[in-house]
């Protein structure tokens, strides 16, 4: 590949990352909006109905004003799909970081990324190992931006359960939501990664949050019902909807282990995918 191709791909990927970031923080994906609207329509607590009314009004106001729907614009979690003719090089990583910096300045985004030990803020939402970039092969060249806010992320947990505790997975999920209480800004979305390894379970739990929320398996629906019986409700003010959806991803694991990761996401399950135009 010629160097001009490299430059072109770099520019196109940086631009697509910027566009995906901007879109993600301003408007919710249609499936996420649908589950919020459905919950708002069936919620029975008057206080909770008021919270849903504010959330829905906020969503339309963000769109109308072209501003982020929440002041915590998160940290950048990025998923790339790479077609066979695009070489996976450092340049792709650099291009994504450039798109993040541009979005931080121009959207604007709150500069959230700091060094974990010195707590020094880089002021551009990039840093050592940040953005987090996950790559997989695909037909199309796409970038998905999933800005992850701290309030909900901080309430996530991982457990290395015993192989005999398959029946306890739901309890671990419910306990995670119970311990979180009002802090992750419910109604939440719950991503569950089951199996794989310690790190793999966490990655699956996050990826689960990107799956369409308006179709759930019986297993997922059962967990959702158990979670919602806690009655924490929107913002911890009580109500029928502590959570909007549960999504599960699984992978093969060691016969002697059962990793279970629960990634908590606030009602603003923001993500956007943009195809890189080459």
């Amino acid at each position: 590949m010629k160097s001009t191709d490299h430059t072109r791909i770099h520019k196109a990927l940086a631009k697509a990352t910027f566009e995906a970031y901007k879109s993600a923080v301003i408007r919710l994906p249609p499936d996420v909006l649908r589950v919020i609207e459905q919950a708002a329509a069936s919620e029975t607590s008057p206080v909770a109905r008021g919270e849903f009314a504010n959330i829905l009004q906020n969503i339309s106001m963000a769109e109308k004003l072209g501003v982020p729907m929440c002041q915590d614009t998160g940290v950048p979690v990025i998923y790339l799909t790479i077609p066979p003719d695009v070489p996976l090089t450092q340049e792709l990583y650099d291009a994504v970081a450039e798109g993040v910096r541009k979005a931080t300045k121009e959207v604007p985004l709150r500069p959230n990324v700091v060094d974990p030990l010195t707590r020094h803020n880089t002021n551009d939402n990039t840093g050592h190992g940040m953005p987090t970039i996950h790559v997989k092969p695909g037909e199309k060249f796409t970038v998905t931006v999933f800005p992850k806010g701290a309030g909900a992320e901080n309430m996530s947990r991982i457990g290395m359960l015993l192989p005999s505790q398959v029946g306890q997975i739901e309890k671990f999920v419910v306990e995670t939501v119970y311990l979180a209480g009002s802090r992750p800004c419910p109604p939440i979305v719950i991503g569950v990664g089951i199996g794989g390894t310690f790190d793999g379970a966490a990655a699956m739990a996050k990826e689960a949050l990107l799956q369409p929320l308006d179709s759930m398996t019986d297993y997922e629906r059962g967990m959702l019902a158990a979670v919602n019986r806690l009655g924490i409700g929107p913002m911890g003010l009580g109500g029928d909807f502590t959570a909007l959806a549960v999504k599960v991803k699984t992978a093969g694991c060691h016969t002697a282990s059962l990793p279970v990761a629960v990634n908590i996401q606030c009602w603003a399950n923001r993500h956007a995918t943009v195809e890189v135009s080459r």
């Binding site: 800004c185 158990a226 924490i232 913002m235």
Partner: protein, 190 residues
């Protein structure tokens, strides 16, 4: 659920500075607040304890918020977690502050401090765009604390809130938390 919600068809209109009208409010009442509020997070509370309150606290309203401000405009201003200010709010209420706004509720200490004096108003977490649409920036104190921690003076135009803790000792968050404790204990045994 044991929580009683006094659903008001229309939200109660409130304007700062607040007075004894807040004593008539009950947990679960919807209100719309207009007038000046002062943002304050952890650092601002500590500074006010050290250097004094830079505004008239009588009937004042504190908003637990670290806004995004650009070109003297409020870009995004949703609430932050109020519980971090559990140990820092007493002196403000004592000096005349009538309402605290934030998310997630506050501890029993603040509930007791508000008794007969004021209310805690919950604003929906993440609703930064809705907030910004109802806000005009009027000034700033302690700007050296940085954007998130400074005390911003903001004029509200009918911000939609719900009374989370009233001046009679009723606390929705406390009740909900008791309910979820009981539910979880029961579920765990099942």
């Amino acid at each position: 659920m044991t929580v009683k919600t006094a659903k008001t068809a229309k939200p109660v209109q409130l304007r700062t500075p607040l007075g004894e009208e807040v004593l008539a409010l009950h947990a679960g009442d919807h209100v719309e607040l207009s007038g000046l509020v002062y943002t304050a997070r952890d650092e601002a509370h500590l500074r006010m304890q050290k250097d004094g309150i830079p505004f008239d606290p009588n009937g004042a309203v504190i908003y637990h918020c670290g806004p995004v401000i650009q070109d003297k405009q409020v870009i995004a201003a949703g609430p932050t977690t109020s519980a971090r200010m559990n140990e820092l709010s007493g002196s403000l209420i004592e000096k005349g502050v009538r309402a605290l706004i934030g998310k997630g509720g506050m501890g029993t200490r603040v509930r007791d401090e508000l008794n007969g004096r004021g209310v805690y108003l919950a604003f929906t977490g993440g609703c930064a765009a809705l907030a910004a649409d109802r806000m005009t920036l009027k000034g700033v104190f302690f700007e050296d604390l940085g954007m998130a921690e400074a005390v911003w003076v903001i004029e509200l135009d009918r911000l939609p809130l719900v009374v989370g803790i009233d001046s009679h000792g009723s606390d929705i968050f406390g009740e909900v938390s008791k309910h979820s404790d009981a539910e979880f204990a029961r579920y765990r045994k099942s």
